[in-house]
Every structure is written in C-alpha cells, then in structure tokens.
Symmetry: C2
C-alpha cells in the first residue's frame, strides 16, 4: 500500500511578499513505512511567521527551505501505518511534517498528543510551539513579576494571546496591541487592562497613555514602529523579549532598526532575543502551566482554522501576515 | 576674600555640532565658603561624550543643562578654603564642579583623591568615571569570561582603553576598533589580539575577519555602523553592553537604529544599556581592581591633557568628537 499525497514545494524564493510564483503544488507517493518508520495523515498545518524567514537564502538559526523542497511546516495528524514501536496506528502526533497530506517519519522530533487534555488544534497553539514561546519568553526572557506592566504586541495572535493571558494570571497589568476593533473587543473580553488598536496610529502616544508609569516588560512579535514606541516608554530596568518582527518579514530590503534603542541606556534596560527551540527540554513545565490555566478557565486557547487543504497554503500564509486570525492560525488538510 | 572665576555657560542649545554660539565665557565671583562649604581650585576638567546629551532639551537620565547655567562637567582640583570638616585645605578632590576655575561645594558627590596611588589625571580617567564605566560594563553587563572574544569600540578612548586592557587581563581574546594608524599602533602595543582601523571602512568584513568564531561581548561606545557590524558577527549567547553612541551624538535628527537587531534572536543574544552612576556604591571594588592592575604593570592609564584653560573648553569638546585623544581627554585649567 502507498498514499498519494498532495504537497506544496518552494518553486522560487520570493522578493517581498510571496505570490503564486513562489509555490508549486505537486503530488508524491508516500510508501509503506520501513523498519522504525511510520506514516502520518496530516490533519492540521500550522501557519507561523517564522516561515517567511525560512524562504530567504540567508544565514540564520536554521537552514532555509531549498528550492524544490516541500515547504517546512509544523503540523499534526494521525498515524495511519507504523513500523515504529513508539508510535501506533491511531496515535495523534505533531512534528515538522511539512505542507503535505501524508508524511513519512522516523519519529525524530515527533510528539504524541493527549487529545484527552486538549484537541489537536490546541496542541499546535497554546500547548504547542506558540504557547511555549509565550511561556518561556515571558518567564525566562521577560522575567515578568506580579504588579509589573507588560506590553504585548500582536496580542490577538497565537503567541501574543497566550502571553497576555499568562501575564494577567501572574498578576501583571497587561496592555495588548492588536489591529482592528474585532480583535480589540476580543482582547477586552479576555480581561486585558488596556488594549491599543494599532490601526488608529500614533503608537507612541497610545503606549504612553496606556503605560504612564512605563513598560516593565515588552514582548515584541512585530518590530517596526511599535518597538520604537515601546523603547520610548520603558520603565527603569525594563526587559524587551524579542520574539519576532512580523511587520518587516515581507520587506524587500532590511528594515530600519529601532531608532530609540539608546533608551536601553537611559532606562538601564535590556533587549534579548530567544528561540523556543532552546527550551525543548523544558516543554513539560510550560505545558503543565498552560494546561492548568486552561482547566481553571483562566486561559482561553483560541484557534482560527482555514479550510482549503494543502492547496490553500499560499493564501493561508498571506492571511497570517494580513492578520486574518484570532489566536493560532491553522490550515485544515 | 573671594575668587574671581572664569566659567563657561550654555548660551543656547546647539543643533548638531556645538559652535561658538553655543557657549558664553563669563566671570563670576566665588565667595568665602559658608558653614559646611568649601572652595575648590579646579585643575583638570573632564571631557565626556555624555556632555553632548546634556545640551539637549530632552527627557533623559539627568536633566539637561539650563540656558545660562555653567556647563556641567566632572573635574578635579585642590581645596583652597574650607568650612567643611571632611575636606581640608590642600585636599585633592573630584566632583561635578562644572567648567570653571573655582567651585563652591557642600561636599555632595565629592571624592577625596589619594595622589599617592595615582596622579589627579588618572583619578579622572582609569580610576574615575571612565574606568568604572569600563569595569562594571565589562563585568556586570557584558559578563566577559576568560577565553571569550570581546570586541571594543573607541578602544583608544577613555573607556575603551580600560575595557580592552581589563578584558586582556581576564584572559579574553580582545579586538579593538579605533580611528587611524597612531591609535591602532598604540593598541597593538597594549597587547590587543586584533586591532581594526575604522577609517579603513567595511567594518562588517573587518569584524568578521577578526572574529571568525563570533563576538561574545561587544562593548559599544559608538553606535552606528559598527553596532550593526557587531550584531551581524555575534556568537551564540552574546552580550552587547550599550555604553554610548558617540558617532551619533551630533546628528541633527535621531540617527538610524541598528538594522540588524534581529541578530539578537538568531544568536539568542542580549543588548543592555547601563549608567555608571548606578554603580557608585561599588566604586571601591572597581578602583581596587584597576589600581591593582596598574601597580602590576598590566594596565596602562593614559590621558591626553589639553592646555587652554576654561576658555579652551569649546574646542576641547569638539576635539573629543573628532577623536584627538588617546585615553582620557582632559582640559588643564
């Protein structure tokens, strides 16, 4: 037996925003698993801002996706055939399966998912990489303390929505920034202390008004103008956790840097980058903390699931940069 | 008795580079000290990059110098009259006396100098604020460890020359950046492992060649292009100590920020600002460490002393930005 599997390959590297010429839809035959292998029927593909970086031919923390290769993607699905004793048919799993319908795996980097704790979608969101990014970024890099003011960008997104709720649960004063009235309203429902609509402009004025005593922790997913506004509004001893810079990922040239970085000196503050992959061995701690809050109804795990199958991937990725999602953005295969 | 004292006042705030219109030379009468007061005959005035920031009408870590006020300056001299029991006539002292010939003080922020340990000039340099900036920036912010690669900008300057030598004494591999062949030669004599002449351009290529395994600690006094070159050349887990940005201080508009700041994420690195004034209570530790190295001939304290008296201050300050000095730049009163 084998599986005919649609997949999305990188046809050419995009300049700026990816378009139809970036991708090629193809079909591959996935064979019976050999010894130690298993086959996953992918059900959900994760859309992540980091994907844009993987398309660039540049030195980074991970090699770029090669031309002609299947697009790298985190995903979840069900084992449908196995010759690996750790993974049985019927197991729910997540891993870097790529944008395809069926994936052959040897189990490396694959995690079994307990669907009794949370549905598969949540295991790609609040209990997956975005949730762990939120948890370790806030705890280890931002070092948020009860009573401190925490500013979160892209606060309605996969990472930001968890950061904001974790910070609230810790007893911080939380200011979220999001785009548009629907997201703003949703964040208010989640109980954030202040919500800034970035589409209303003048971020510096808005941040200063929301944080008159300064920002102790800024969790930065976006870069750009908001990073400068945060720098100009820091409290003494502040920490900026650099998680991403989605506002610049589709720029054709290297974006401007944060002009106000010397605020780090004025406020004796620090700006620190991190990658969630460095915390892999501490995932159990993060998963325990977030699942406990979910059970206590103190944290809402939210996902936006797009239909369209593997062929819908190019549009889904653009949707991510356009901010179509509330919470984690997923593509249903 | 009283003292007729020349002084330099801020006449108007400069746009960009200060010029003749920025300053006003005036004469004041300094009276006999009252109870608890004393009079200092200023002998050496310290020229510091931070002075440029004090001229701007902007929110910062310290209020700006007011129009018509004596220019703020760190200085050293001798007590010539006293009604303060802690300071006797003949004592050598340092403090924020300003750009003037005689200063009246109540002793606040004034330190007695042991000229048996080092001459007055060194107490404004390697054993003064610049030396303490070097020590705490390297130890506390940069956290340099033996065997690590330390990149130092303005390495022939007051702070940089101490940073470079402290790092060498710790067993680090030290790369210094300075402007012009004389400074480069001087730094090679001090024993630095690599010296980059910034006037030869292409700093990114030069830094990468000097630090093929990456920079663990970058001590930044200059900002601008070199900060970007350092960011692009970091080692994993690197620390950037933000001490200053002299290359931008005379810009008329806010300079561009570091475009490559997302290297902080790729390299899991941090960038942290600091102010030496926060370490006042730990000065004895820094002074002990540096004076020990001086006694062991493992650290050379160097000063460039300009003649010209108080009236020479405007040119001396420009000289600082033009890099006329090797080591600490001082003005003899």
């Amino acid at each position: 037996m084998s599986w005919s599997s649609q997949e999305v390959r990188l046809a050419q590297r995009p300049q700026g925003r990816p378009d139809a010429s970036t991708w090629q839809l193809a079909t591959a035959e996935v064979p019976e698993p050999g010894p130690g292998e298993f086959v996953v029927r992918v059900e959900l593909v994760s859309l992540d801002p980091a994907m844009r970086g993987w398309l660039n031919d540049a030195r980074s923390y991970i090699p770029p996706v090669g031309i002609g290769e299947v697009m790298r993607a985190f995903a979840a699905g069900e084992v449908v055939a196995s010759q690996n004793e750790d993974f049985a048919v019927g197991d729910a799993v997540s891993g870097t399966f790529g944008v395809r319908e069926h994936a052959l795996s040897d189990g490396e980097g694959v995690t079994k998912l307990d669907l009794g704790v949370a549905p598969m979608a949540t295991w790609l969101g609040a209990l997956g990489m975005p949730g762990m990014t939120a948890y370790f970024g806030l705890e280890d890099v931002g070092r948020a303390q009860p009573g401190e003011t925490v500013l979160v960008s892209a606060a309605a997104g996969a990472v930001g929505s968890v950061v904001a709720q974790l910070a609230k649960a810790k007893g911080c004063r939380v200011i979220g920034v999001a785009g548009g009235p629907d997201k703003v309203a949703w964040l208010r429902e989640l109980g954030l202390d202040e919500v800034i609509d970035r589409k209303e402009g003048d971020l510096l004025r808005q941040v200063r008004r929301a944080a008159p005593d300064g920002v102790d922790v800024y969790f930065d997913n976006v870069g750009g103008e908001l990073l400068d506004a945060a720098l100009a509004s820091l409290a003494r001893g502040a920490r900026i956790a650099i998680c991403g810079a989605i506002s610049t990922y589709n720029d054709e040239t290297l974006a401007e840097g944060p002009r106000r970085y010397m605020a780090l000196l004025v406020f004796r503050a620090r700006m620190q980058g991190f990658l969630v992959m460095d915390y892999l061995d501490r995932y159990p701690e993060g998963i325990a903390a977030i699942s406990r809050l979910i059970q206590q109804d103190r944290l809402v795990a939210t996902e936006t699931v797009l239909e369209g199958g593997v062929a819908g991937f190019p549009d889904a990725l653009l949707g991510l940069f356009d901010g179509v999602n509330t919470g984690k953005l997923l593509l249903k295969v």
